[in-house]
Subunit: 138 residues, 3 copies
Amino acid sequence: MRQASDILTFPTAGQGLTEITGELAAWLAGTGLREGLLTMLCRHTSASLLIQENAAPEVRGDLVDWLDRLAPQGPHYRHDDEGPDDMPAHLKATLTGVNLQVPVLSGRMALGTWQGIYLAEHRSRPHRRQVAVHVIGA
Amino acid sequence: MRQASDILTFPTAGQGLTEITGELAAWLAGTGLREGLLTMLCRHTSASLLIQENAAPEVRGDLVDWLDRLAPQGPHYRHDDEGPDDMPAHLKATLTGVNLQVPVLSGRMALGTWQGIYLAEHRSRPHRRQVAVHVIGA
Amino acid sequence: MRQASDILTFPTAGQGLTEITGELAAWLAGTGLREGLLTMLCRHTSASLLIQENAAPEVRGDLVDWLDRLAPQGPHYRHDDEGPDDMPAHLKATLTGVNLQVPVLSGRMALGTWQGIYLAEHRSRPHRRQVAVHVIGA
């Protein structure tokens, strides 16, 4: 039994979802672990991680619009240090969460057929985002 | 230290919550692990996992109604490949999440007194859903 | 490779967020583990765990207000055994979730610069809340 960990960095293009399944799979392959548990932590409070459909791109657009409806910009926030997209970004990151775990089976993430892992950028402008990754197993 | 993993399949009766605590406890007991960490991943994008009260059944009905209010059906989605319950199901799965982790103490899941583990079906019709399970410990 | 686990208890002051990063860091330090994975489970259905900004306190106030808007009190719930704040508390706990995982690097949680770990109390009155903690690594 052994473990590996790292901090991966991903650029985002502003508000929206960036699929990072391939980068995570490559990192996992590099560890040589075949059976175990992969954990990810987005190290930010206005970006997050989620698993969603990687087939129809419309799903991502609808998801971003829905988050905008649930956490709209507006004058009703106390916190607006970094502009009108600041507090809504914190709320969207809270709703979607900053953690994911995926069991590893036969050297691969045990994702479903239609599941992809997405880094969700909730700020308007592009950022560089860090994801801490950890795997433990054999 | 050792680990075990599996893919469990559960039928759902259409939209609603199905308690799977007992099935998970039985699988865990079969591994013989006494101390460790149990992880679950729902391998779908329109079903999810959550921990909620397993005493009052009204909680489940109110929870399902609340998800319907937050992610209502309607003509405002781009994605409707599989009908009007399709995109709302993706949104509800995103809100509730597809991952759970429970520490294992003395051979049992360290759940609180009132906590049960639920598979949440967000599509209208019954489905068969897969949950990847992994435990590591001693 | 080894593991440690415990049940920690935290008092809350009623609805709001209590930062528990320091207590968790102290518990982790006591285990002596330097590399690994820390998991937390809130053992309740009306309190939860989340990671959010620990700099601007306004973020916490805005977050609590937002949860009140998404899950308002009202006569539309079937479940009100323990008063008008009962069912909204279950809904807020479901939205934010009861699990967190943080990789451990060089003996410290790999949190981002602005991230703190919060116990979210969703009931109006103060409670004592239990968090199951588990760490595995070396």
